[in-house]
Amino acid sequence: MEQLPDFWRTEVWHPLTVHFPVAFLSLATIFLIAGYWLRKASPIYTGQALLIAGTIGAWIAVYTGGLADGIVSRQICDPTVLEAHENGAFTVAGLFSGASALVIGDYFGLLRQFRKLLRITIIILAITGSGFLAYTGHLGATLVYQQAAGVYTPSEDCKEFTETD
């Protein structure tokens, strides 16, 4: 008889961790643009904090994605989508890491003479990163909703659910 698998499977850690950086990095981009545009400190600080937290989260998601990859690659029908998703994730993490490094540099007053250029670059990296983030997220969604990556498919009679009450 079919048995309901444990919820805390290796491949489940990726969806559990990936949504934080998606939200943090998208919001960081909005706050940074607003802050630099309006020349207001508080949205800039919020954006910077979200950017750094989101970047750390992005690398955690890359790590958990790598763990999930070893499992779902054997089950899905088109691993080329997974490969594009993985490459996109590295790009996102790389771009936002660059932006975070510049934010930290800006915070500590490094490259003070290039401050304006530095901030423009942070915005460019964040916008480019957000574009890749949307694309990578879309690929992740197609993996789940079109190929059932990491998803348990219940048996036709749902017997495993009645047994686990």
Partner: protein, 104 residues
């Protein structure tokens, strides 16, 4: 001028980051000769570069037979640079390795 240079640098950087990561190929079911490019032991996965310069990403399954000199050997025998003959089955766009023969 400085600005243009700076922007160009970041566009190039973005493209470089975008280009990073492996590119693998999908081939028809069959047997291919190649060289192991990378072994990922924790995922029981290998990358094989075929003689026509295609990279196959192969995740071992319970059905994959790994042999050397006619006898079955464990996954840990595989090393980067080894010449192998792989028999794969194309399922959708996934390549399931049915047999991997170490040639040296």
């Amino acid at each position: 001028m400085k600005k243009t240079l700076f922007y160009s640098l970041f566009i190039v950087m973005a493209l470089m980051v975008g280009a990073c990561g492996g590119k693998t190929d999908v081939v028809d079911s069959g047997t291919y000769d190649g060289t192991i490019k990378k072994v990922e032991a924790e995922k029981t996965e290998i990358y094989v570069e075929t003689s026509d310069e295609k990279t196959l990403e192969l995740y071992f399954t319970d059905e994959t037979k790994l042999t050397q000199n006619g006898s079955e050997v464990p996954f840990s025998t595989l090393e980067k640079g080894q010449k192998v003959e792989v028999t794969v089955e194309k399922v959708g766009k996934r390549l399931d390795p049915k047999a991997v023969k170490i040639l040296e």
